[in-house]
Amino acid sequence: MKRDSKETNKTQHTLRRRHQGIGTKPPKVENMGVTLKRIWSYMAGEKRRFILILSIVVISSALSLLGPYLLGVAVDAIIADPVTDTLLVMAGILLGVYILHSVTSWLQNYWMIGISQNTVFAIRNHLFSHLQQLPLLFYQKRQQGELMSRLTNDIENISRTLNSAIIQFTTSILTITGTIGMMLWLSPLLTLLTLTIVPVMYFGMKWITKRTGRFFKEQQKHLGDMNGYVEEMFSGQQIVTMYSQEKRVIEEFSHKNQSLKEASYWAQTYSGFIPKLMNMLNNVSFGIIVGAGGLLALNGFITIGIIVTFTTYSRQFTRPLNDLANQYNMILSAVAGAERVFQILDEAGESAQDEKAVDIERIQGVIIFRAVDFSYEKDQPILQNVSFHAAQGETVALVGPTGAGKTTILSLLSRFYELEKGEILIDGKDIKTITRESLRKQMGVVLQDSILFHTTIRENIRYGRLDATDEEVEEVAKAAHAHDFITRLPEGYDTILDSDGKGISHGQRQLLSIARAMLADPALLILDEATSSIDTVTEMKITDALDKLMEGRTSFVIAHRLNTIRNADCILVLHEGRIIEKGNHHELLRRNGFYADLVHTQSGRTEVVNE
């Protein structure tokens, strides 16, 4: 029956509350109506079914009122005259009511789960494809963890709320009003007596939540404190051991552990009062109903059947009364989550392309930057008056301190951003007249933090060109000096990689991403060299693989190693968004300027040119 699923919810809410901390303020919602309407729009084809569900909720709530009432009537009938035909009829009706109630309460949940899961599926898909459209700038402005939380927790929250909270919330309201109505109809006096527990409940809960709120906050503080301490000590555990500081550290930890225990103790104790209070009030109302009801029955005001009905009704309305606030909070937090999700959907995608933009075929790779200006925000120029020329097959090295604009130049070339002023020409064509897709098809990228996917090595390399055969994959792996280490792995090319990079070394990851770019066979190459120290032998392999990859392609390198820089056809020295020196290694050395300074002060070092 309805009341039972409510009990389950109640306990689940207690659990959830325990995680959130009782007494936390309800989540902040900007514009409930608009957000709900937007969620509604994802239900598309299922709106009719949703309305159907709501009407079933009304029916099942009504049935949950009818059950106890009929039971009371049956009890009276039996007491009055145990063997009558009416009894048979009553039993039949009750059976019907029970069956119908079970069916409706199952059906409403079954349908609702279907709808909510479809809706969440649609939101997720929409969100993901929108993410693919968003400009790179969007990702740079945001922390990955925070984005991830919106994509997972917030949506999960919407899913859970749609699954159950909406039905529960409606049912709670219907049940409370219905039960009180029925009780008033049956016996106003007994109803009044039963309702005396409501104020006690209200003040009792207020007394408890005031305390739990405080202690949960305190617990959270201590937990955070301990968390930070543990993280620091675990990541520095080697140091702790080597300097024999275990005793001191354990001592410090035990203080934090102790204060956490104390705060949690009070939080848990007080929150344990809630079910007991509810239980006590139920018992008291049970006592009131039986005692006072008994007196009333003696005087003939009510029947024993009504007492039976009231014992169930009183439980039926105190529970949802207690749950209502939680259910509402849950809906609010889901709406707040949905708002965060929709914020992402409201972000503008990459700017529309020129309608006349055309696809380009294989390019030769002549690149010209002509007086390019760029800024993310007005008055904060990132690039100013950048001009240079790269002939087919040349290597252009970009050198300069962090923030000088090296990455921005490469991003402009891939059209991750739009220029503010000036123009970029590829084989003589303005890149604005070329479609983004066909432009990017001409490029291969090897990034500093070699991004690999959680799949086999083979598929990771194949990412460069999806229709490549296994033979082609192995061929490029050989060319990139990756084949040897791959075949030494127990699973060879079928080794599944962790996206966080466990299992193979940093240098090996780089070799794989070089192989991937080789497979793509692009006309233009964009490289962001690694800065982290890689062992000498692997580094030799990488250098060789990169040389092969760059052969015959116009390449742009954010270079860290002198070897690459020295061999570049053109070195652009950047400083605060401007090209301050331009030329090859020897020319720049002769000029005795910024570049020559860099090289001299750091001679003997191989990696610091770009620090």
Binding site: L15, R18, V83, L87, A91, L95, Y98, S105, N109, I113, Q117, N125, S129, L131, L136, Q144, M148, G228, E231, G236, Q238, I239, M242, E246, N257, K261, S264, Y265, T269, P275, K276, N279, M280, N283, V284, G287, V290, G291, G294, L295, A297, L298, E437, R440, G444, V445, L447, I451, G464, L466, S505, I534, D535, T536, T538, M540, L562, V599, S603, V608
Partner: protein, 571 residues
């Protein structure tokens, strides 16, 4: 979960009090329908007002008793569960102190932190629940049935026959549901992986034009997740309506049989109402089960994760009863030393070399060649599986571990500083070091000038807003920390990589002047070419040893590395 329960005996008084209060509460609740039967039969039916008033009052009084029992129970249950949580955290933390780097690879720092926080909290919840409602639910069902026998054995038989069937059905569905939910969790992880990859690799995805491919991939995992989620939720939704229907039918049957017996006076009206009341209460208890089982299964997953850490074999370092504490000069020799983790391949094989006090040993090798493992053997963070290591001629195994470690300073690859002030960080190396000692160490580590230039100098607090240190500064700070204790042996595990050439050179010259044996791992030959002896490590074996000159003359591996590095030297 067994491991977790083994913590309970410490709090046996709290547990006992909590459990007996819970049982007291239970008894009160079981009494209620019985009293109700009395009121109906002896009061209302017999038209005796005083019986109604007295027993009605008793009912209310008992409610208050139960409430008081419940409230007090809360204190004791919380005491036990928080106590256990505290003890588990304490033991976890101590256990981790004995971990080697290998353990950190299996468990990872964030993984361990989660175990210390979320998992322990989860377990506390389960324990609290066990002492309050978990045991109560089955006890209530049994008690309810027993009490209905007391009231009327005939009608109670119906309950005895039906309740177990419904319970079995409920458990069957719930276990199925839990299995399905585990599958959902797997699908959810899969989807999160795709999401995370897309967030961190967006530049690559855009660069390779793979948006459509990624969208397809995502829709695939998303669809899988949706389907499995629906299945799991749907099966859970079947449970309660069916069980409730069953229980309601049972009540109808009781009513039906009761009505017939009422006619023949074999049952009284009050008794019938009481049995129905027991049945209803048992029905309410059923719904708690699904919650209990879900919660318990989550709790036992947490318990398993914690147990894995607690039972991890940390291989206590060999210790003898009469550990020696000789004065240390710093001579180290390895005699045919091999090392392997468990059944794994050997990480080090037959390593032999010896270093006189005060010399500098350079170590060169690829990633994974065993350099760090070799270094970890010296301060006995790991223990050799074969062969012996000697310190000044004493076998390491015969020496007191702490005594040995106090003579050694290690500077690891990743400079790790703790929150607190700079001076506190340097004092990690030697508790109670004087300011003078700290400054002298900082000077030697080439970091004094930098610290002096900070507004707060040595009292600058790390980890606060606005103050960040570069990799090179961190490395020098951790070298200062190593020097302040005036070690007899100093181990630098590629810890000068972020320094510029001049600083590194000054640092190395200073190290030569220190009165200690130095082990120096580096990527660049330029850093170690002045060492007295260079060890070339390759796949766990020493493939060459000697000074720079002799290696350059004889060793082809060394030559090729030298060649490739010199090529890059422009000046």
């Amino acid at each position: 979960m067994r491991k977790v329960f083994s913590y309970l005996p410490t709090y046996k008084i709290s547990v006992a009090v909590a459990l007996s209060l819970m049982i007291l509460e239970l008894i009160v609740e079981l009494m209620q329908p019985l009293l109700m039967a009395k009121i109906i039969d002896e009061g209302i039916v017999a038209e005796d007002m005083s019986v109604v008033i007295i027993w009605g009052g008793v009912l209310l009084g008992l409610s208050l008793v139960a409430f008081a029992a419940g409230i007090i129970n809360s204190y004791f249950a919380a005491n036990a569960s928080q106590g256990v949580g505290h003890d588990i955290r304490r033991d976890l933390f101590q256990k981790v102190q004995a971990f080697s780097s290998r353990h950190f690879q299996t468990f990872t720092t964030p993984g361990l932190v989660t175990r210390m926080t979320n998992d322990v909290t989860q377990i506390q919840g389960v324990l609290f629940m066990l002492m309050r409602i978990a045991l109560r639910a089955p006890l209530f069902i049994i008690g309810g049935i027993v009490m209905s026998f007391v009231v009327h054995p005939g009608l109670a038989t119906i309950l005895v026959l039906s309740v177990p069937i419904l319970l079995l059905f409920l458990f069957w569905i719930l276990t199925k549901g839990i299995v399905l939910f585990r599958k959902v969790q797997g699908k959810l992880d899969r989807m999160n992986t795709v999401l995370r990859e897309n967030l961190s690799g967006i530049r690559l995805i855009k660069g390779f034009n793979r948006s459509e491919y990624e969208e397809e991939r995502f829709q695939d995992v998303n669809k899988n997740l949706m389907n499995d989620n629906k299945k799991a939720l749907w099966i859970m939704e079947v449970a309660m309506p069916v069980v409730m229907l069953g229980m309601n039918i049972v009540i109808l049957i009781i009513l039906w049989v009761g009505a017939i017996q009422l006619d023949t006076d074999m049952v009284k009206a009050g008794e019938l109402v009481a049995i129905i009341n027991y049945a209803t209460k048992i029905m309410f208890t059923f719904s708690v089960f699904s919650f209990l089982i879900m919660h318990y299964s989550r709790g036992s997953a947490s318990a398993a994760r914690i147990t894995a850490v607690l039972e991890e074999d940390t291989k206590a370092i060999h210790a003898t009863d009469q550990a020696l504490k000789p004065e240390v000069k710093g001579g180290i020799s390895f005699v045919d030393v091999s090392f392997q983790y468990d059944a794994d391949q050997r990480v080090l094989q037959h390593i032999s070399f010896s270093a006189k006090p005060g010399v500098m040993i350079g170590i060169l090798g690829e990633t994974g060649s065993g350099k760090t493992t070799l270094l970890n053997l010296i301060p006995r963070l790991l223990e050799e599986t074969e062969g012996d290591i000697y310190l000044d001629g004493y076998r390491m195994k015969d020496l007191d571990v702490e005594h040995v470690r106090n003579q050694i300073s290690v500077v690891p690859q990743e400079a790790h500083l703790f929150s607190g002030s700079l001076i506190e960080n340097i004092r990690w190396g030697k508790e109670g070091a004087t300011k003078k000692e700290v400054i002298s160490a900082a000077k030697d580590a080439q970091i004094h000038e930098f610290i002096k230039g900070l507004p707060d100098g040595y009292d600058t607090v790390l980890g606060q807003k606005g103050i960040t240190f570069s990799g090179g500064q961190k490395q020098r700070l951790s070298i200062a920390r190593a020097l302040v204790r005036k070690p007899k042996i100093l181990i630098l595990d590629d810890s000068t990589s972020a320094l510029d050439a001049h600083t590194e050179e000054r640092l190395l010259t200073m190290l030569r002047r220190q009165n200690c044996t130095v082990f120096l791992v580096a990527q660049k030959i330029s850093s170690i070419q002045n060492a007295d002896q260079i060890l070339l490590l390759h796949e766990g074996e020493v493939i060459g040893t000697g000074d720079h000159r002799s290696l350059l003359k004889e060793n082809p591996y060394y030559q090729s590395v030298y060649q490739s590095q010199m090529e890059e030297d422009v000046s």
